[in-house]
């Protein structure tokens, strides 16, 4: 199994070249919201390892909230360009590949940013400007783009095969269907029309690091649990006193902002989401969030690795990233459905989880005990989210038309057809996947 990795390059713009950069980014799209996968600057489709990628100018209009809510002068952050990608395999190999195939285009783009002059080693330059995430979420650990494509081709071939012979299959028992489709698959593989490449070996180094992480987090928690328990009442007091007075900033969304965001949504069955905001001032919120994201990251690395983040099964990739010395948080995700569905799903299924993280952000709808209310204040929460959302300038997904559920079903189909023998119950479930 080859685990996925990601990068986030965040670089300040040269103010005088902002318009040029925006023009370059726009040139990568057919229309706003629909990328040209073969665009001249970064021809995403040539990268067989990229799942999703985006360019987004981090133009956070909400930095003034600190002043409004707490009277703290708003820091002046320079406008910056972020490049995010989620891909198969290690980051070093990805960067090198990127420099090789898209070096010229990236030179163009990064020339509009501080500290880059054409001719520099792009891979190295990017690496030096990367920011690690506090929490990463991958829908299905180790499922590569190649595997996704093979499994989709498999489903489509099996589906077509079934469709062309309705009478022959209508009377077959699940066992007979399974056997017949296995025979068909063998034939297709022999003929070179389908392939089901076995997963590569898991890199030893990754495995060791992952195992160490699996043990280390609970171990650290265990060791510090007496201290944490002692601190808990103080924490509760600090939390509640803040929660009672933290102001909300969640006005109705400006229709122009709403329109700017909606224009680039709902072309594919999946959408992108990029949002940014400032942390509430003070060390308490900062370290609460660091701690929570550290815990959350443990669950996404070791527990939520096969199709679901708690109850939500519609996220392909997501991440939470601290930027500006933990002054701000960037959230980026790739989700199925329209934003309204996504927000409703979130509120109803994992409102508590949203509150855990985002209630540490300035202006979030009031929460209680870190998990209650907050997102359950539905309209305010939706306004808050939209208000903090940034228009994603360029967004690429390697498998348009496929939802996370599609990918899961396809993988289950593959797992089932690769097994020579299944129980009756398993066979019935497997046949129902079509």
């Amino acid at each position: 199994m080859m685990p996925q990795s990601n990068v986030l390059v965040n670089v300040p713009l040269r103010p005088e070249r902002e318009a040029e950069l925006r023009g370059l980014l726009a040139s990568m799209n057919f229309v706003p919201g629909r990328v040209n996968p073969a665009n001249a600057l970064v021809p995403f489709e040539q990268f067989s390892q990229i799942h999703v990628a985006r360019f987004v100018i981090l133009d956070d209009q909400t930095t003034g909230d600190l002043q409004v809510a707490y009277g703290i002068p708003a820091p002046k952050y320079p406008l910056s360009l972020a490049f995010l990608a989620d891909f198969d395999g290690p980051a070093d190999a990805f960067r090198a590949d990127l420099a090789r195939r898209a070096g010229k285009g990236l030179e163009h783009i990064f020339s509009c940013c501080e500290g880059f002059t054409p001719g520099m080693d792009i891979a190295q330059w990017m690496k030096e400007r990367e920011i690690a995430s506090a929490t990463d979420y991958v829908n299905w650990l180790g499922r590569s783009v190649g595997q996704i494509r093979e499994e989709d081709a498999l489903r489509e071939a099996l589906d077509t095969h079934l469709q062309q012979r309705p009478a022959a299959f209508a009377q077959k028992s699940p066992r007979e269907v399974h056997a017949a489709l296995r025979a068909f698959l063998q034939e297709e593989i022999r003929a070179g029309r389908l392939a089901l490449t076995p997963p590569p070996a898991t890199p030893l180094g990754w495995w060791l690091r992952n195992a160490a992480h699996l043990i280390a987090v609970p171990l650290v928690l265990l060791i510090f649990s007496p201290l944490l328990l002692l601190y808990l009442p103080f924490f509760a007091f600090q939390l509640r006193s803040r929660e009672k007075s933290d102001p909300e900033i969640a006005p109705r969304v400006d229709p122009c902002q709403e329109k700017r965001l909606a224009t680039i949504e709902d072309y594919d069955v999946t959408n992108q989401f990029t949002a940014m905001g400032s942390l509430k001032p003070g060390l308490f919120r900062r370290w609460t969030l660091v701690f929570l994201l550290w815990l959350l990251n443990w669950t996404t690395r070791h527990i939520y690795t096969r199709g679901q983040l708690a109850r939500v099964g519609t996220i392909h990739f997501a991440r939470w990233v601290f930027i500006n010395e933990r002054g701000r948080l960037l959230f980026a995700s790739n989700y199925d459905g329209s934003l309204e569905t996504y927000m409703d799903d979130f509120i109803n299924k994992v409102g508590w989880g949203l509150n855990l993280v985002f209630s540490n952000g300035v202006g979030y709808p009031s929460s209680r005990w870190l998990v209650l209310d907050g997102a359950k204040n539905e309209q305010k929460f939706k306004y808050f989210l939209r208000r903090h959302e940034l228009p994603t300038d360029v967004w690429y997904k390697a498998y348009p038309g496929l939802t996370a559920f599609d990918l899961k079903r396809n993988t289950l189909i593959r797992e089932g057809i690769e097994k020579a023998s299944l129980s009756e119950a398993e066979l019935r479930q497997w046949v129902a996947l079509f």
């Binding site: 209508a170 072309y267 459905g337 309204e340 299924k349 359950k376 559920f405």
Partner: protein, 514 residues
């Protein structure tokens, strides 16, 4: 304890379908002379939600688009207090059209009304008992009416005896509105069982909704011109509530290709070597004859099902609606994509009926799922609409539909009318996530078998199939299903409370004095 609802301030359509008034016409009006229009509005005999005996034989209901409010000279800062969807309009934004499936043959540019600048200011819904409509219309349309409005459209209706054009009984399942305000929902708690009783605030502004919150709407300072007669805002002392006792009307004129439907069904039935109406019933999710659900009835009482009306009515409702899909998790009884299953998947907030705090906690954390589809469409209580539509055009039986069409086959279809307090979370969600979405409930390559526009989506060249799971066998799949329903027009309206209507009728002076 909440204050009782003042039925005299609510337009009757929210509470009644006016079933006894079999005749109806929908007038699409533009304001010609604001002063005359307001004078007419001030006197318009609008029927309220107060129960009357004998039951009235005629009724008038009035709703406005935002363009209509502007035309009546309602101040801008008041109009902008309405919801973003209302202010954008059904056809006002390409993204909205994508989400609603209003693309291809459904695109607003092809609509008879509601798109391309043909957006009416007012919708007057006129109902009457058989034989009385013309007289009632004449009595409504006095000289102020003639002076005040241009009629840009007149949508007639027909009475098919409670069935829609494809032949199925219509409007069987409606949410039961909590008029008595006794339903309590906790903001943070999960509802573990599907229920049909829905908070008043889902259908009327100014009351708590299913989140136990008040949906945003225009609130005015009492000092503002004409505001003093408006009801008080329950949640914000000192404010006057222009939304209170009002709601939004989603109006869509849907043309139905009845011949195309039955010809497709007939062919699919013969291909499957079947007889009868099984294919059509699978597409709908209910029996043609009596509307009984394909999904099995449950023994346990569902809150808000079979609890109103006389004994016969209660028994009938229990027979038609005492079910959810928990017992049909594999779709063997009712296909996942069946129209009524898409329209209301009947799921609670948490799947699997977890008992005990630990089991609930496990479910909340995403463990303990017993079937693949179990948690794909959750918490339907936030996505209910109240349907008040009526058919138009002459009826056609399934048998007649198989005959060749005459040279000038009249248009037939449904004037779909849905009432809801939050268009985006209710109507648009249902239409987008459940009806139009080709990935609903884990399906792929298919949209609603009745409403779907069959337009390809990115990466999915076809969306015109329909899957029918088969017990112990591989599913059947209907292919190349044509489009049966085409959107011909539509708009979002605001159906005000009576006092809000009176406020609108005084609006011009407001602008002048401000």
């Amino acid at each position: 304890m909440f204050a009782a609802v003042d039925y005299t301030d609510v337009q009757g359509l929210v509470r009644f379908g006016f079933g006894n008034m079999a005749e109806a016409v929908y007038l699409l009006l533009n304001v010609r002379d604001p002063q005359a229009a307001r004078t007419w509005l001030a006197q318009a005999p609008v029927t309220t939600a107060l129960e009357r005996s004998p039951v009235p034989s005629t009724s008038l209901q009035i709703a406005f688009t935002w363009q209509g409010l502007e035309a009546l000279e309602v101040p801008d800062h008041v109009v902008t207090g309405f919801s973003a969807e209302f202010l954008s309009g059904m056809a006002g934004d390409a993204n909205r059209s994508r989400r609603l499936g209003d693309t291809g043959a459904n695109a607003p540019s092809t609509w008879a009304w509601g798109g391309n600048g043909r957006i009416p200011h007012l919708l007057a819904m006129v109902f009457a008992e058989p034989g009385q409509l013309d007289g009632w219309l004449r009595s409504i349309q006095g000289s102020w009416y003639q002076e005040g409005f241009n009629e840009i459209g007149r949508l007639t209706t027909s009475d098919l005896g409670g069935r829609e054009h494809f032949g199925f009984i219509d409007g069987i399942s409606q949410p039961q509105i909590d008029w008595t305000r006794t339903r309590t929902v906790s903001a943070n708690g999960n509802q573990l069982a599907y229920g049909n009783i829905t908070c008043l605030g889902e259908f009327l502004l100014g009351y708590p909704n299913e989140y136990s919150r008040y949906t945003d709407r225009p609130l005015l300072d009492p000092q503002e011109a004409n505001a003093s007669d408006l009801p008080d805002a329950e949640d914000q002392p000192g404010k006057k509530d222009l939304g209170k006792n009002g709601t939004y009307v989603v109006f869509r004129q849907l043309r139905q290709d009845v011949r195309g439907f039955w010809q497709f069904v007939d062919e699919a039935t013969r291909d499957a070597h079947e007889t009868g109406y099984g294919v059509a019933e699978a597409m709908v999710g209910r029996r043609l004859e009596d509307g009984a659900p394909l999904a099995p009835l449950v023994q346990t009482q569902i809150a808000g099902v079979g609890t109103t009306g006389n004994d016969a009515k209660r028994r009938q409702d229990a027979r038609l609606n005492q079910f959810n899909y928990a017992d049909d998790a594999d779709g063997m009884h009712c296909p996942f994509g069946a129209h009524v299953r898409r329209g209301n998947p009947r799921t609670p907030d948490l799947p699997g009926n977890p008992s005990g705090i630990f089991s609930q906690l496990a479910h909340m954390l995403g463990f303990g799922e017993t079937s693949l589809h179990e948690d794909l469409a959750a918490a339907v209580r936030f996505h209910r609409v109240l349907r008040r539509g009526r058919e138009y055009g002459p009826g056609l039986s399934p048998g007649e539909a198989l005959q060749p069409a005459p040279t000038s086959d009249p248009e037939r279809g449904l004037h779909f009318i849905a009432l809801n307090a939050n268009i985006e979370r209710q109507f648009e969600f249902v239409q987008n996530a459940w009806m139009a979405r080709t990935k609903f409930d884990g399906l792929t390559e298919e949209s609603d078998p009745l409403l779907g526009n069959r337009e390809p989506v990115q990466g999915c060249p076809f969306t015109n199939t329909f899957s029918i799971p088969q017990a112990g066998h591989v599913r059947k799949r209907l292919m190349e299903m044509p489009q049966f329903v085409t959107v011909r027009g539509g708009a979002y309206f605001f159906l005000p409370g009576i006092r809000a209507l009176r406020y609108f009728s005084k609006a011009g002076g407001t602008a002048a004095r401000r």
